[in-house]
């Protein structure tokens, strides 16, 4: 027997081993081993799996809640700033500064119903027709009282604006057919029935906020059908009454149009063709503005890019 163990009694040892078998509770084991893992930077083994799916589950919950909130939010609470960026995407670039100015009422029109209409696509679908006939309406209005001859020329101008040379929304549902078809009636309505119920309904009142609150619910559907006419009316209204107290919205619309223009720049050739066409049609003001815009964009390269007949023309 080992001298160190000679005082030990095998019977006592065996009896003690049989009697004393207590173990710490499993919960205590888990707590201690988890603490040991944390201390050395390793997560508790049993908690590894839950931690792995935790961020994914959290993200999913957040997404579901966000979608739910959006679905349940009353249309009144949809901020126009969230929708207005969508409009320029569906809006073709403005040809001229005048187009931009004419587009301002259109944007006002987009913004105003967007407070009531919950579906953003309504805004996108409403936008192209407004942009298409806005130049025509603006041109019409520029001359003060619209003449019959000018009115007859408007559909052609609107169709011209929809030619492939000038970019338009790719989506057929968004754009040209309805837009072109609606452009002429809209122009007619501008002069012959400027106070038609629908046009009146869509004419932005002096207070856009009040308009948003007072407009009837079916406005959205009506607006989709009659937005070209309304846009024309609005463009004319805008030209005739430059003191329209909606500078903020108009400015925003102009900015949107400018952004759209930047986003879809026309080529040099297209631009030159446009300027030549405007000059040929006798629209020298527009041609000069386009020329100025061309020079602004291309800076010192502009003179080199311009053909000789346009190079000498001064804005």
């Amino acid at each position: 027997m080992n001298p160190a163990n000679k005082h030990r009694d095998p019977d006592v040892d065996a009896a003690w081993r049989a009697a004393s078998r207590d173990q710490p509770p499993p919960a205590l084991d888990a707590a201690i081993t988890a603490a040991a893992r944390r201390a050395v930077g390793a997560g508790p083994q049993r908690l590894d799996a839950p931690r792995a799916w935790w961020p994914v589950a959290a993200a999913a919950v957040v997404a579901v809640v966000a979608i739910g909130i959006v679905e349940m939010t009353p249309p009144d609470q949809i901020a126009p700033t969230e929708i207005s960026p969508a409009a320029p995407q569906a809006t073709p670039p403005a040809e001229t500064a005048r187009d931009q100015r004419a587009a301002a009422p259109a944007a006002v029109l987009q913004l105003t119903p967007s407070r009531r209409i919950e579906a953003p696509r309504m805004v996108e679908r409403a936008a192209p027709p407004i942009r298409a006939d806005a130049p025509a309406a603006a041109t019409e209005a520029t001359g003060g009282t619209a003449s019959e001859a000018t009115r007859q020329r408007e559909p052609a101008a609107a169709r011209e604006a929809a030619k492939p040379g000038i970019p338009f929304p790719a989506s057929p549902s968004d754009a040209s057919p309805a837009m072109n078809a609606a452009a002429a009636p809209g122009a007619d309505r501008l002069t012959t029935a400027p106070t038609s119920p629908k046009a009146r309904q869509q004419t932005p009142p002096s207070n856009a906020g009040a308009s948003a609150q007072q407009a009837p619910a079916p406005f959205a559907e009506d607006e989709r059908k009659t937005s070209p006419a309304a846009a024309g009316a609005l463009a004319a209204h805008r030209e005739a009454a430059p003191s329209n107290p909606q500078p903020a919205l108009a400015k925003r619309a102009q900015d949107s149009a400018a952004v759209s223009d930047e986003a879809q720049p026309r080529t040099v050739d297209e631009w030159i063709r446009l300027i030549r066409r405007l000059k040929a049609e006798g629209r020298n003001d527009l041609a000069a503005k386009e020329l100025a815009a061309f020079r602004t964009r291309y800076q010192e390269r502009a003179e080199a890019l311009l053909p000789a007949d346009l190079r000498d023309a001064k804005p």
């Binding site: 005082h7 003690w16 049989a18 004393s20 207590d22 205590l28 201690i32 081993t33 040991a36 893992r37």
Partner: protein
Amino acid sequence: MRERADSSDEHLMLAYAAGDAAAFDTLYARHKGGVYRYLLRQCRDAGIAEQLFQDVWMNLIRVRSSYQPSAKFTTWLYTLAHNRMIDHHRASGRVMLVSTDDENHADVVAALPASRHNEPESRASNRELGARLKDAVAALPAAQRDAFLLQQEGGLTLEEIAALTGVGAETVKSRLRYATNKLRAELADLSSQLREDTG
């Protein structure tokens, strides 16, 4: 895995101090029962024993980097447990583990709980044996009980117990002898009771 199971306590402790969490699991599985029983037999309260048990292991985790492989792991571990027990007794106002010269306490056996031989309902069984043995250990003087438990649960040698408790090896030997004699007497008493019951 088998390599880890065959590793020494010291190697595992060094591995854990270096960041190997799995080494701790092996160490803990090896020693959790002994440490728990050591504390439970000393304080005789499961709740307190669990608290002390957790404190011991948390302390080990906290000071893991200070472990020196020159020291035997079990000696180090039971030193932590022993010190925690002393702290607990001091905090609770109980005077425990006083250094006594056990040879001068001849009445130790007399102080142990009486045999249950005379209890009419008493039936010898393994459960009875275990309970009697636990009672006998609980009734030992604190220093003897401490030495006995360190030997039985921790597997420490006389020298290790002496170093851990801060007394001489002969003192430890004496304590263990007294404790063993008492427990043997208790077992003999129980055995005779068993013989009477079966005869």
